[in-house]
Amino acid sequence: MSCLSISRVSKSFGGLRAVDGVSVAIGRGELIGLIGPNGSGKTTLLNILSGHQPPDAGTVLLEDRPIQHLKPERIAALGLQRMFQLTRVFRRMSALDNLMTAGRALGLAHAQALARADRLLEQLALGRVRDLDAGQLSGGQQKLLEFGCCFMVTPKIALLDEPFAAVHPAMKETMARFIRTRHAEGQTFLIVSHDMPAVVELCPRTLCMNAGALIADGPTRAVLNDPVVIEAYLGGEEEAA
């Protein structure tokens, strides 16, 4: 049984086809990258997977359970965690409380949640800002915090939307190390990123989207050398120029 099974998912906004019949199976324990030029539909796809947008057509199965029309909180409870491209943290709550909220919402008892939260803070080098309001943290720290919230209860799959964007290299390394460690323990990841070196370094398998459709799916190096993929990026750049 695959971890996440996406089958012919489509979504249009007015006349624009944001996601066009995407089908892909993500196996348990895979670490997959998702690349594509701006506007290719990556974030929309993630929104559909996490329940923030209903698809027009298609199904999404989380370990054989259909989730395409469930609410985000339900999907989170079932084990799909997601990071946002524009960091979303609870700004007037402390970093610790941010993590506690995530843990308690997913069923942890207070003591358990506290222990996990403290451990995550240590692992993500956020121990110093434990009691500071999230709104007072730097952009990179907020991203790390949101990242940490996804792991209060080990999810079946973690969807990360541009986790490395505009992040200090040291924090990037912290996150990458965390991802590698968890991956070695069997955690499934889908990482949307423009950071090609990071994708090459972390992800054995990569997907590429363009204009809503999935145009490549395979070993990372092969995908990055795929002429169709290169065309998608170059073509987009030409239009912008």
Partner: protein
Amino acid sequence: MQGSARRMAVEFRLSLALIALIALAPIVVDNAYWQGVLIVSMYFALLAAGWNLLAGYTGQFSMAPACFAMIGAYTTGLLAYHWSIPPSLGIPASILAAGAIGAALGLIVMRLRGPYLALTTLSFAEIMRLVIGNSYGFTRGDLGLNVPGLFESRLAYYYVFVAVLAAAQAGLYLLLRSRAGLFLRAIRDDEVAAASRGVDVVFWKTAAFTLSTAVSGLAGALYAHFSQLVSPELGLVSQTGLVICMAVIGGIGGLIGPIAGALLVYVSSEMLREAGGIQLIVFALLVILIARFFREGLWGLARRALQGSDAA
């Protein structure tokens, strides 16, 4: 103990101390009129605390607290007036009625934010007030409804209010200290993120709404049996405005602000009444100044001053 939990515990203890002061006040204040003033302050304190739960903690700015107090008052009043139902049943009925209607309203306004929520709750409040006011046959409309009292002595009412206020405050503290407190604040800060983290947004928003309106209903019912006359004026939007003023002046989003604000506003407004009715002007001005320059209200200022002196 984490920072915010400690802060909440301190505020709770302070609020209990304040309530204790109120409880002891009759020793000094033996004048029935001023005891009545304090009783009405406690009525407003309950409304302000309930509204603060909705607005300060969940971010839902409702314009209907006075309306639900009116619903509570009329529930127990009408039950007594038409069917001679005793307050021991009437008051719980008020809580249930206000809570149930509140839950329904809460579900309806679930998706609304900011001015939309304010406008919808305001419309609801006005509709209810007009309906009650116009139903002369049933409610005696603007003439007012006579409600039986509970006790002979004013002091007995006084201590009932003190007890209810203390209980409500304790209940609020326990709720906010639990995971509910985390969820409500998360919803206030970012509903989308809260849902992504697994918080059942619909449930908790409705729960906060229901609890807030139930407390308002209880306050209204108690007030009805105290003043023994209720009229639709209880539910005027300006009464809600008063409650909001009290909460903002005291400081929303904390545990002690609403009570302190209600006491301060109502007691001084009574004192100012003798000086010639400028109380609302002064307090409206205060609200504007505080909202404009000191979001955390007087309590926030006090706390900052204390922390400043600690650090020194």
